[in-house]
Symmetry: C2
Subunit: 317 residues, 2 copies
């Protein structure tokens, strides 16, 4: 009898369950569902337990790993809340899953789990310390230090997106201002481009063309696409994001001196010029004696699910 690992990835509205043999590198089965509008925590939990039962078909897993898209207390496996879905406050997710499947379970937030996934199966293999950074609708991060997750005092470590890079920068949803996320995340790139399109009517012809003249339709992807086609307003809006990331990466290199930075998320698909600007800025901020690799993530959207496999086996905190 082989050891089965059950992995869950609770996203914002898209949830995935997967079944894999321990030490294997391909999935036996995966199922994905999308929550209907109005779904709450209890609904999502019931749905995922059902997916797990379907995948297992009566077998008992050796261990379960869970990635959750929001703050989690790792020591107890309790979800603190979801920023997107109601009814997740203080859900004892680990206990619910252990009761259902009779197997030891670990639960952590998606950025930490994705960091573990990249470290074990992706672009972080072979190094002992890394910061995983994801840049999409927000900017998140997760630490591997000395081959283990570093979570910190409140399980809050890894909030790379809320490093302040500009003391005169715009207000951020976190209550502070000038944060990496406020300058670098996709929706904020789009917001900046829309503001500039309104204020600078002579610029941005390519970007305007891409959205049929409807400035309100500009999103992060349109900005990246226009920049790739040579639109300088679009590039300027994107460059603010790249410089903010590069400044923070260089500062973090000086502060923690990790071996590697692994960058993922949709915004990091914005092309070579975007990556070169991140690299050049990070290198200029880092001290000459401080070395680091800066590489694209290897697992894409599946980093949390692979990471869930890896954390299933971890000792509890």
């Amino acid at each position: 009898m082989t050891d089965l690992i059950l992995a869950f990835d609770f996203g914002g509205t898209k949830h995935t369950a997967g079944l894999i043999e321990r030490s294997a590198h391909t999935w036996l089965a995966q199922k994905q569902v999308t929550s209907p509008p109005g779904a709450d925590g209890a609904y999502d939990i019931a749905t995922m337990l059902g997916l797990g039962r379907d995948l297992l078909a009566g077998a008992r897993p050796a261990a379960v790993g869970v990635s959750f898209g929001g703050p989690v207390d790792y020591a107890t496996g309790t979800v603190r809340l979801s920023h997107h879905v109601p009814g997740w406050e203080n859900q004892p997710l680990r206990r619910l899953i252990e009761t259902e499947f009779g197997a030891p379970t670990n639960v952590d937030n998606d950025a930490n789990v994705a960091a573990v996934g990249e470290h074990r199966f992706g672009a972080g293999r072979g190094c002992s310390s890394l910061l995983y950074i994801t840049v999409s609708t927000g900017v998140g991060g997760g630490w591997i230090l000395d081959n283990r997750s570093w979570r910190g005092r409140d399980s809050m470590a890894g909030e790379f997106g809320h490093i302040m890079v500009d003391p005169l920068g715009p207000d951020c949803i976190c209550g502070s201002h000038g944060c990496v996320e406020r300058l670098a995340a996709g929706p904020n790139i789009a917001l900046r481009a829309r503001e500039w399109l309104v204020a600078q009517p002579e610029r941005g012809a390519i970007l305007r063309g891409l959205v049929g003249g409807d400035v309100s339709a500009v999103d992060g992807k349109a900005v990246a696409q226009a920049a790739a086609q040579g639109d300088e307003l679009a590039w300027d809006a994107l460059a603010v994001s790249a410089r903010a990331l590069g400044q923070a990466i260089g500062s973090v290199a000086n502060l923690i001196n990790p071996e590697r930075f692994v960058l993922g998320g949709g915004v990091t698909k914005s092309g070579d010029r975007y990556w070169e600007t991140i690299r050049a800025t990070a290198r200029a901020v880092a001290m000459p004696e401080v070395h680091f690799d800066l590489v694209p993530a290897g697992l894409g959207d599946y980093a949390p699910l692979w990471g869930a496999v890896a954390i299933a086996d971890q000792p509890p905190a």
Copy 2:
């Protein structure tokens, strides 16, 4: 027979050796010397070996710990260089001391060693993760994570002073600009105050009085003293330092979520208003869910010597 620990603190020009019984909390003996002008690495090493022999009076130490005021490769105990004194390049300090005293020796840079000292004997007791920050002629730092030093890929971790806090800030000696050190260190506070005294002849009466009208004589201490007496130009120059420290501390709290920040160095003796500004800025930048203590260092100038005692017993890297 008791276990004797020999501790060395190689400063810029002031060097201290101390002898203590393992597990004791008072020194059996200490000796301090000041290097003459023109001294080099070989001179300083010979002097310190002599101090050690004097203290030991023929006894053999159980272990030796060494704090060095510059970059060190901890794994080999080799000094990379001194930024202040010539002839320190690639000195195999651990091997030289082990040969002289026949005892296992650990060597680390002063910021890491001071962090260990505060953690074991000072303001960091009882917590498992902290960033020690020293603010004086420069701004340095050292990490304790999970009760151990964290040094990073190149033994460069802890360079808190070279976090960029202002992308429009002035050039820093590290080659970057807008660094914490460039805004917060004592000589840079004084530089700023002198520039403002020249540019704003109607301000700074108290500070001018303290230096008998000789603006070129303004140093960091004079600025702190004038600010304490109500000089608003002096306070403004000091506040830039406090805000830079607070901004970086809040960002680091989000990134690493350590239990405690321990602040030492001469500049941190600039009074309650200085501390309150650091605290308020750090708290505003840190996310609401991120908690930390921010406390003054407990060992003053003796943190590296106490830390040398603590690292004497550490396992090699």
